[in-house]
Structure formats: C-alpha cells, structure tokens
Subunit: 212 residues, 4 copies
Amino acid sequence: MPRGGAEDEPRRSPKWQARHQAIIDTSARVFARRGYHATGITELCAANDLGKGALYHYIGSKEELLVAIHDRVMDEVMLSADRVAQAGGSPSEQLSNLGDGLLDVITRYPDHVWVFLHEFPALTGERAEQFRGRRRDYERRVESVLQAGVDSGDFADVDPRLTALAWLGMHNYAYLWLKGDGPLSARDVAGRFADIFILGIGRPGTEGRRAR
Amino acid sequence: MPRGGAEDEPRRSPKWQARHQAIIDTSARVFARRGYHATGITELCAANDLGKGALYHYIGSKEELLVAIHDRVMDEVMLSADRVAQAGGSPSEQLSNLGDGLLDVITRYPDHVWVFLHEFPALTGERAEQFRGRRRDYERRVESVLQAGVDSGDFADVDPRLTALAWLGMHNYAYLWLKGDGPLSARDVAGRFADIFILGIGRPGTEGRRAR
Amino acid sequence: MPRGGAEDEPRRSPKWQARHQAIIDTSARVFARRGYHATGITELCAANDLGKGALYHYIGSKEELLVAIHDRVMDEVMLSADRVAQAGGSPSEQLSNLGDGLLDVITRYPDHVWVFLHEFPALTGERAEQFRGRRRDYERRVESVLQAGVDSGDFADVDPRLTALAWLGMHNYAYLWLKGDGPLSARDVAGRFADIFILGIGRPGTEGRRAR
Amino acid sequence: MPRGGAEDEPRRSPKWQARHQAIIDTSARVFARRGYHATGITELCAANDLGKGALYHYIGSKEELLVAIHDRVMDEVMLSADRVAQAGGSPSEQLSNLGDGLLDVITRYPDHVWVFLHEFPALTGERAEQFRGRRRDYERRVESVLQAGVDSGDFADVDPRLTALAWLGMHNYAYLWLKGDGPLSARDVAGRFADIFILGIGRPGTEGRRAR
DNA sequence: TATGAATGAGTCTTCATTCAT
DNA sequence: AATGAATGAAGACTCATTCAT
C-alpha cells in the first residue's frame, strides 16, 4: 500500500480524482520550470485552464499541491524499492536494481522529481518532517543493501552510510540532466552507473562482477 | 583572474567592500535556511542589522545579491580547478584533487553552495546564462580529466560526459549532508569517493590504484 | 397579521416551508456565534447539512436569510406589543407587560435577537429602511405608554423619548447576557426591571406602585 | 497607567505615533458606518489617503487596528471609572458619576464606542479574552458601587449583578442614539438616567434623593 | 430537490524597491 | 551612510452566487 498522504478527507468522485491528478501533473511541470515560489496561483490557473476558485476546489492550497507532487514521487520510489527487495538477489544485483528503479522514476516523472528534489524546503511543519522521514527510509534501503554486501564479502569494507550518500548523489543528480528523449535510456544509464559503483566498492581481486 | 562579475562599477571604499562581503555571507546563510524567494528584504535587513535604505546601498538589488553569492562559489570552485590543472599529475591524481577541491569549497562555504545549487533558477536573463556557462566550464574540466584518463589507458573506455555527470552528482550532492563539524573532513570524504570512483572506472586488471 | 416580509413570492409546499424555517433557525445560531459577515455560505451548508445548490433553493440569497431572521424577531416583538395594547391596563401595567414580552422574545429567540440587534447594518437599501421603520414603530409603542403615564399623572413629567430610550437600552441589552437556562426567568428579570423603572419614573410621593 | 496594549513593540517616532493615532480615529469612523467586516482595506486606504503598503506600515493588521480602537475606548472608560473611585462620595453620587463618565466617553468617541460595542466578536483568540476581561472589570466597578449602596442602606436590597446589567444596558445603549450635537449634552442625559435609576433602586420611603 | 464544479471579483497581506530626509 | 515612510503590483486565498447535471 503506497500512499503516504492522509486519508481522512471526503471521498471524491472519479471525475474529481482524474482532474486532480491532471492538475498535479500539469502543475509539477510549471513548478519544475519556474520554481515553486516563483510560480503564482494565476500561472497555475492558466496552465490548468481553470479559474482561481475552481483550481482551489481541487488543490486545497498551494502547499497541498506541493505535497501531492512529493507523494507521487515518494510513492513511486518506495514502490520500486519494494519490488527490488521482493525480487531478492545478490547485493550487487539489488543495488543495480535499485539504481534501475530510481532512474526509471526520474525519467518517467522528471518534473515531479525536479520539484521533489528542489522544493522540499518549501514544505512546512509536520509535512516537512513527514517527507524527510520517507526520504530517510529510502536511503536506509540503500544502506541495507550495502551493509549486506559488506557482510557477505561481495563489497569491500566501506562505510555504508557514506557510500549510500555517494550512490544517492550519483543517481539523484540525474534529475538535472536525464531526459527520456536522450540517446541513453534510464536503464542504460543505470547500467553504466552500476558498473562504476559496484566495481568501485568491490572486494579487491574480485573481477568479473561486470557481468551483473 | 577569478572574479566573474562585471567590473564596470564604481570603485568602492575598503569599508564598503568589507561590509558588502559581510552582507553577502550573512545573507547566504539566511537564503540557505529559508530559501531565496521565501526570504524578504525585511528579513535580510534584520539579519544584517541594517535599514532598508542602507541595505540597498550595498546590495543594489536582491538578485544582485544572489549573483554575488553565486560568484563567490564559482570563483572558488574555478580557482580550485585551476590549481589542480597547474599541479598536473596523472588523470587519477587530478580527478582525486578535483574532488578534494570541490568538497573543500562545499565545507568552507556551505551556505553559499546551498544557494548556488538550489537557487540558480531564480537568476533571470543573461545572468542565468552566465552561470550556466561557468558551471559548464567546470564540468568540462572534469570531462577533460576523464578523457585524458581514457586516452592514456588509466581509465576504462567510459563515456566522459556521462561519467563526469556521475562524478559531479556524487560530489555535488554532498552539499546536502556534508558539514564541517562531522567526524569526517572534506578531505576524508573526498578520499573515499576517489577510491570508489577511480577504482570503478579503472581499467580491468589494473590493481593497486588504491594508492592515489 | 404578523409577517413583515413581501408576499408576492410563489406559494411553496408545506415541506419547503418547514425546511425553510429550520434553515432560518439553524442559520441564526451560526450567525449569532460567528457573525453574519464572518459566516460563509459553506459553513451554512455544513450547519444545515445541505449542498450549495439546495441551500440556495431555500434561502434565495444570504441577505434574504438575514431578512428572514429579522422578520422572525420583529414579528414576535410586534405581536407581543399588540397583545399588550389589547390587554389594556394602567400605563405602569402596560409598561411592565411590554418588558415581559420583550424579554420573553429575547429568551425564546436568543440567536435571532442577537443577529437582529447586531447585524442590522448588514442590511442594504430599502431592506435597511424597512427594518429601521419597524423598529421605530416598536419604540413609539413604548413612548406612547410613557406619554400616557405622564398625562395621567402616573409618571413624573419625564421626556417620553429619552425615557423610552433608557427603557429600551435596559431591556434590549439583555440579549447579551439573558439565557433561558439561568436561575432567573425572563419574567423574573422583567419584574425586577419594571420595579426599578416604574419606581424611577413614578410621581414623587406615590408609593405602593411596587404592586404591579 | 491606562494602556491595555502590549508594550514590547519597537519604539516609534512621534510622527509615526501621530499618524497612527489619526489612522485609528479615521478608521473607527469608517468601521462605525460600514461595519468592520464589511470594510475592506482598500476603503481604509482611501479614507486615510494612504496606499496599502503605507497603511500596513502603521496598522500591522486589520485586527490590530480593531484592537487599537478597543483600547482607546477601554482606556478612557477605565480612566473615568478610576476618577470616580478617587473622587469618592456616596454610592448615589458615585453611580451618578459613573454614568456621567460613561456617557461622556460615548459622546467624545462615538465611533470608537460603536465599534467597541458592535465588533468585539471580530476579535479572535486571546485578544477577545483580554477585552472580555477588561469589560468585566468595568462591570464590577458598577456592581461594587451598587453593593456598597445596598450595604449602606442607600439602596434597596437589589441584586447587584442584575441591577448593574440594567444600568449598563441603559447607558451603553446610548451609543446608538446619543450624538454630541443633540439638544441634550451627555451630562444632561446622564442626569436624567441617574434620576430614574437612583430613585428606582432607592430605599422605599426615602424621598428627596432627587437632589443628587 | 439536490449536487458540486465553476466563476471572478473580492479578501487581507507582503513584496521589492524608491526616495526625501 | 543610514533611516523608514511610501508605493502599488502581486501574493495566496475566499467569497457569494450560478448552473449543468
């Protein structure tokens, strides 16, 4: 069960849900291009072809819209992490799969991810806390796989936290340049990254791990 | 010659210069904590203990202040890249030195870097262009080193651009978590990163490159 | 014939009438607690458990709802004044009875009266005029009784208008504190007020008027 | 020391203070005529001949303006009550003096008083509490005088609380009709009210108390 | 009867900036 | 150098009301 958001709101009609989703997606694109704070409600209205009142009928508030975009990303990212865990495999394979999943989300939701990675400081109060938590959860998944690899001897004796941060930076940073329309697919890029990273932290003398 | 900014402004007194610098540093901290758009001039005045008129006497405009912060970072980063180039050495050594320098700037100017990496979309017009250019310049330095390593056979036959992006992500991302007060110094972290990265892109069969 | 409102509207079904009345009463409570301007249509919908469209089906407009509340109060107040006039009796008795009736309305319709005395400036145009007129009518009833008392020698030679205003203030003000659930009933309070007032304006030397 | 407001705000220049006061007075008139909620900031700007920004430079917020108006009234009312207490005299004299003082404030600050008595529900949070408290303080002054009169035998054995409410209603209600420009001065009206009230609650058989 | 999506003028408030002092 | 009053466009958001369903 993905969903990170609260569920105590009134049930909405399917039509409302669909429009809501469309608004989230459209707005994510605007936020990604102009920035959250720099984007006015009026711009959002224009982009969504809706009056102010109607827009608010769907979004509740500008920040709730931001939250919805965050949710979209985190739901997808955690879902992909879950799938990796369920699939199992060696630490190398799992790390590689995590990268695959992460870059896949980045290509499928470039705008949402941009907003997620750039505008999280705009979240206030417990909302901010909530997302810091979910983000930390994901980071721990990466750490766990690294730790497992260290324990099993597949990886050298690296610091899992620091190494996870290196891995996360390498992959997350792709939101700035990875486009779905480039010559390389998310999967291609993830492969190259896995090559570098897994070789980089591999046990000395262990060759052949290039065959993931 | 560092300075990226325009030089056609009137010469200012040393006192003005000192105050100007202090305002840039103080404001960088505020921007880093609250965000550029979310920070009002009034907050800046309070942080700098100055009235609006006096503040404007120093900063010109809010965006010029942002530019000054950007300049501070890029000047330092390019300076460190220049030093690496002048020092010379093998591609591995140079790449390692670049990482050293980059993380060093991140620890010495955490607020400025935060602003630089987070608020660049707030720059408008040719200002934005200018910094995109300077940033690209730095990226090309990394690419060049990688290309040199590939050519020399020190590195495997990786795509320099893609690999540079991986390297940049790994290092730049540190602005989110690298603090000067942690157990690991910038130099320590850079060492671990270099270990991973250089081994990761090393030519198969080439061991011993752990001795940077 | 009570009804102060216009009579040219289409006849409505009894069910409509009942619902309409219920809405008026419920809304009066909300207006009394939150204020007319501070209460939004949405709040009214929630309080009445009705959608916007349905609510408008009954109320016509927010101001018409306010008018209906006003009508409710004025109808009752004028009705009680009529009964007093029909009952006849000495000026003292009539004044006492007017007070009885007025405080009775205030306890029976505390919310409506609150709205009536507090939100009359929200009425616009001829509506405002209309209610000012009806209110003035009631005030004249009080003045008439006082004048009669002066003429008959029951009361001292007071200024009827000024004295009426004193009497009205004393009684109307009770809407702020008189609750049906207190230890004193409206009738009790009215008795005490009548004691004070009738003695206060009584002809010097005339004792025994405590036996109303 | 009157002042009911908090004092922890930055000291302002005399010029600011003067303008601030003028704005309070002007705005009180507008609020009294149109109602607090019905008056927009734009109207306030027009009435004060100031732009929005400049207006906010003085008022802080619409509600703070309302608070300032309330303070003005309560400061004056409590001041007059203090003077009455200091002057001393018989309960009858003190009650009469309280009425004098109250109606005097009402005529000198008709707009402020209108707002005070009509718009207090617009105050929120602890502000509302604060004023309820100050108002209650004044009411207790009246009750005390009544109690003293009952104890001393000057007054009949009335319920002080209920009688105070009667007295307050009679006097407060004058904000609706008492104008400084009428034929009767505040002092005249207060005299008539005192005649009625003091006679009305006087000990049976005690004549001659008309000579206050 | 009833729903709730839509309107768009309106709400209060803050913005970066200027300028007389 | 510095102050802080003033500007007025723009900020996010709510309003009473309408209308297709």
